[in-house]
Point group: C2
Chain length 208, copies 2
């Protein structure tokens, strides 16, 4: 479909769930002489399909999307050994996603709080083989390591669904007291006053 790449033209697939933002970014990137947006996607599944079809140089993706998240997509692509490199664009509040993004082998991570110029330059650098991480986050990744044990994470995930201790106990084959205990330590670690607050802050930091 698309002509063979002329020197340095970056072929991009863009995934972002808000149509207006997606459209704006796509048009803007297309204005750059060295960038072509070959497809756009509104969720993770569309993104995977578009990458499979177009084999772009870079997948530029948001994290929070309906269904499969941007991180899921990154992991999938990394696992398949695709040549496509992944550049994450996301919101500051969810900074804890960074560690997981790194584990998923993404090539770059920029914030929507940064000027658009940063997006374009990050795109070029990622295409050139560099790794790019928003400077505000490079440090944050270290001083806020995930303190939760796997079990605690699991319990907190149940809490986000609105489950009671009894529900969780049944679902995970635990005594109710145990459930309470884990949540209690999780609350202590997160400085939360109750289960819901704990689940929220854990989610906000990308630890779930």
């Amino acid at each position: 479909m698309t002509p063979p790449q002329v020197g340095g033209v970056i072929r991009v697939v863009l995934a972002e769930d808000q149509a207006m933002v997606r459209g704006a970014f796509a048009q803007l990137l297309d204005l750059q002489p060295d960038v072509t947006v070959v497809a756009t996607a509104g969720d993770g599944d569309e993104a995977l399909a578009a990458v499979a079809e177009h084999r772009p140089d870079v997948l530029l993706t948001d994290i929070e999307m309906p269904g499969r998240t941007g991180l899921d997509v990154a992991q999938e692509i990394g696992g398949r050994g695709d040549a496509t490199r992944v550049l994450i664009i996301t919101t500051f509040a969810r900074s804890g996603y960074l560690r997981r993004a790194m584990d998923a082998g993404v090539a770059g991570y920029v914030l929507k709080d940064a000027p658009i110029a940063d997006l374009v330059s990050a795109l070029r650098r990622v295409h050139a083989g560099e790794r790019v991480v928003a400077p505000e986050l490079a440090m944050a990744a270290w001083d806020s390591a995930d303190p939760l044990t796997p079990r605690e994470r699991e319990l907190l995930r149940e809490v986000t669904t609105g489950a009671s201790n009894a529900d969780i106990a049944v679902r995970l084959n635990l005594a109710e007291g145990t459930v309470r205990n884990y949540l209690s330590t999780a609350m202590a670690k997160l400085g939360a006053r109750n289960r819901s607050e704990a689940a929220n802050t854990a989610r906000d930091r990308g630890w779930l």
Copy 2:
């Protein structure tokens, strides 16, 4: 500063907290021959200042911004009897804001989920004196009217700060039982399983 308006050119101030989105929208709007972005703002206060300085035809603003929200700004502008008309761009999830937006006298309300073309056409229609509301919301506004009493709303707002029943009782001069009771009825109305869930859904629908 700006030259006198030639026929039909729309002078716009754009307020949106995410720099990248703000930049993208601004550039895109400026590409339209009949639109000029005279200033941009990253929060409500900057937006008010920009409107005061530039007296634009339209203020295009997000709702959720640090400090003063887009609705606060709209109210302020409406109260001052400014000629500037307000067009809200926001996220679908917070559909309940619509009613409050209407009360604040906004001229239009579009969703970030809609294609960008809608944004431009809404802008033109608002400038022409029409009122524009995203079709998905025109109906939603009616079938999901806020069921909360003022007191319940107040209590839920306290819950979002992480306050316990005892805390709230003291702060509002109520018996603890009363606090529990209000929250209980609020939970019933919202179909929530506990205080936090109730507070979250209420906030998500823009009822706080």
